[in-house]
């Protein structure tokens, strides 16, 4: 684990301007995604996980967004310092994305094979590779096989409507794999699917990480999905990473008051859940609390929480951005 991670986000801050008001949405977000690792970024709606993902992929609309500060290191180079053309060449090739909703990301009037062939054609052009139509189709069939589609040739000739929800999701993953990316970003994988199908998709992603050495960053709101599939977790609240740990460690010893409250909210299979929820709501991003953004809702808050919290080490590879947690001595 001494090697540099493939993706490294450092003190990323993003503002949004709308109607003359500036909202500080991301504040000093950081995370590491090494190769061969499945990393989850988890949080509730509005916590900034999608903005983080878009900033990494370079698909944030600027304006209204503005990257105020920070670096995004990919394979040793800062994406934010690159020329737009260079960055463009990485997108969809070395780093690619699995979108959430197959119905809006697949074109209903073209076959799966046509759509994937077109994506591959442009990816090849960007990489300066030459491959004929037959070569492209061979590659399309190959990746459809990699996502465990039963009959790749037939699937390639199908239109999206002819496939089930789970199969469309596999197609989206196959599309992202076309140019042999090293980093895959998956937005809420399988959350729109039924539990049995979702389990199949999560298993496929896990196998891709293990067998192909992919670095996978998964964005999700579902803690169960995180526990069942990720190696490392980053918990976000109101635009900051509030806790990070290896998955088993996070669920065994959640430290940040927000993480603990969130885990409490998840209904338990044992049937003894007390529905308590978390009082209050997310802060107004245009006038956030000066210190810890969770402090207005936090049962443990003290005046010390008026200062921005720093990441405190609470265990091996485990940190929480909270003034109230006991720092590990080691």
């Amino acid at each position: 684990m001494s090697a540099d991670p493939l993706l490294s986000v450092r003190s990323l801050s993003v503002d949004f301007s709308a109607y003359g008001r500036r909202s500080q949405v991301l504040r000093d977000v950081w995370l590491d995604v090494p190769a061969h690792r499945h990393v989850a970024l988890v949080g509730e709606s509005g916590c900034g996980k999608s903005v983080t993902m878009r900033a990494i992929m370079g698909i944030l609309s600027t304006p209204p967004a503005r990257i105020a500060s920070g670096q995004i290191w990919f394979d040793g180079r800062d994406l934010l310092a690159m020329r737009p053309r260079e960055r463009e060449n990485l997108r969809g090739t070395a780093m690619s994305m699995v979108f959430q909703d197959p119905m809006t990301s697949l074109n209903p009037v073209f076959t799966i094979g046509d759509q994937m062939g077109t994506i591959l054609k442009y990816a090849d052009r960007r990489l300066g590779r030459v491959r004929g139509r037959a070569g492209r189709m061979a590659r399309v069939h190959e990746v459809l096989g990699q996502v465990r589609m039963p009959d790749p040739e037939r699937i390639a000739q199908s239109y999206p409507i002819m496939l089930s929800g789970g199969m469309r999701h596999r197609v989206l993953i196959a599309m992202a794999l076309l140019s042999e990316p090293r980093l895959l970003i998956a937005d809420e994988p399988g959350t729109a699917l039924d539990v049995t199908t979702q389990a199949q998709i999560l298993k496929l992603l896990r196998d891709l990480v293990e067998d192909r050495g992919l670095a996978l960053l998964m964005i999700t709101h579902n803690l169960g999905v995180v526990r069942e599939s990720a190696d490392t977790v980053y918990v976000m609240y109101a635009g900051s990473v509030v806790e990070h740990a290896p998955t088993a460690e996070l669920f065994a010893h959640p430290s940040h008051p927000y993480t603990r409250a969130l885990i409490e909210c998840v209904p338990k299979l044992s049937g003894d859940t007390t529905f308590r929820g978390i009082e209050g709501s997310l802060p107004d991003y245009s006038a956030p609390p000066p210190g810890c953004r969770f402090s207005p809702r936090c049962p443990l808050a003290t005046p010390a929480c008026g200062r921005p919290p720093v990441d405190r080490k609470v265990g091996a590879d485990h940190g929480a951005a909270c003034w109230q947690v006991e720092e590990a001595s080691a």
């Binding site: 929800g165 539990v195 049995t196 209904p267 338990k268």
Partner: protein
């Protein structure tokens, strides 16, 4: 036991399938197929199943939004499917929909939205204002929310308004169709707590539709599991989750992502089911689940299984459980029961 509040008998719904040049009816989709269940006053009956299993169609038929093809829905003995009983239905049964954003009219203030069912009953304006304020109080929203508009509210607040509107006509039965699936877990917990409290203080009966089985475990008293329009297993929530009998229920429970090792231990050890729910238009012969069932054996593809009564309240439809079938699952259940008892 007392008389049921609601009794669903042999309920079926077939949608016509059109094809060809002139849109002739070429077949039918059996969305709901011969479903029976009873509901007692004050209980929460959960309907679980994957998309396409028919749970929302059952809800729509109870609400009178879709006419059943066959069967009866008896509410306190009166058949709600008869046009003559439409007024009974609209007063006794209400629904809370999945998406609070689209179930509220954006041009109406919250107060106006809640007042619609009251106006329909020709209640005096002064009285309406008083009742709206009381309903907002019941769902723990400040009285001044009556003058706000849906876009000013958060998802959780909108769902509270939807609940207030459902309560306006003082119904006895409320159908909750995935009431929290669009909300974050921290908000979901608050809404479930509210529904729990209201159910108890007003003596409401709920039909709770959800794909989230962990949530169902914590909210329902009895659960029915649907697969391709048929009830495959019904039982008290604890029995169903601790000793699931039908292989489909077992696979569903095994696939739930959970957040602790203690919960992992509660899941049945069943392999991940292959494939997906088949199209209702093209249902497998015999037991509809046999194409994906890890335990399917010869009779499953040929014969439709009978309902097997496992104990007073626990029913399942599976050949493996039949007295003359392989007793594999039944034996495993027995061992699990003994273990949990011991």
């Amino acid at each position: 036991m007392s008389e049921p509040l609601l009794e669903v008998v042999g309920l079926s719904k077939a949608f016509p399938l059109r094809g060809g040049l002139f849109g002739r009816i070429t077949g039918e989709v059996k969305a709901v197929n011969d479903v029976d269940f009873k509901l007692f006053k004050g209980e929460v009956f959960g309907l679980a199943g994957e998309s396409g299993s028919g749970k929302s169609t059952i809800a729509r038929m109870i609400l009178g939004l879709t006419a059943p093809s066959e069967g009866a829905i008896l509410f306190e003995g009166r058949d709600l499917t008869l046009e003559a009983n439409a007024s009974v239905r609209s007063r006794a049964v209400q629904m809370v929909f999945q998406n609070p954003g689209s179930s509220l009219n954006p041009r109406r203030s919250i107060g106006q939205s809640i007042a619609v069912p009251l106006e329909a009953r020709r209640i005096a304006t002064v009285e309406i204002d008083r009742r709206v304020a009381r309903l907002l109080d019941m769902v723990q929203l400040p009285a001044d929310f009556a003058n706000r508009y849906p876009h000013e509210l958060s998802g959780g607040q909108k769902q509270r308004v939807a609940i207030a509107r459902a309560l306006a006509v003082e119904p006895k039965l409320i159908v909750l169709d995935e009431p929290t699936s669009a909300l974050d877990v921290s908000v979901q917990a608050k809404i479930m707590e509210l529904l729990n409290d209201l159910g108890r203080s007003l003596g409401l009966t709920y039909i709770f539709i959800s794909h989230d089985l962990s949530l169902m475990r914590n909210f329902a008293n009895r659960v029915g599991v649907l697969y391709l329009g048929r009830l495959v297993e019904v039982g008290p929530v604890r029995t169903l989750f601790e000793t699931p009998a039908h292989p489909y229920t077992r696979s569903l429970l095994a696939a739930i992502p959970v957040i602790s090792a203690a919960e992992d231990a509660l899941k049945p050890r069943e392999p991940v089911v292959e494939g997906e729910i088949p199209s209702p238009a093209n249902q497998p012969a015999g037991c509809a689940f046999h194409t994906r069932c890890p335990r399917a054996f010869a009779p499953c593809a040929k014969h439709f299984p009978d309902v097997v009564r496992l104990d007073a309240e626990h029913l399942a439809r599976c050949h493996l459980l039949a007295p003359n079938g392989s007793r594999q699952v039944a034996t495993e259940m027995q061992t699990a029961k003994q273990e949990s008892a011991g």
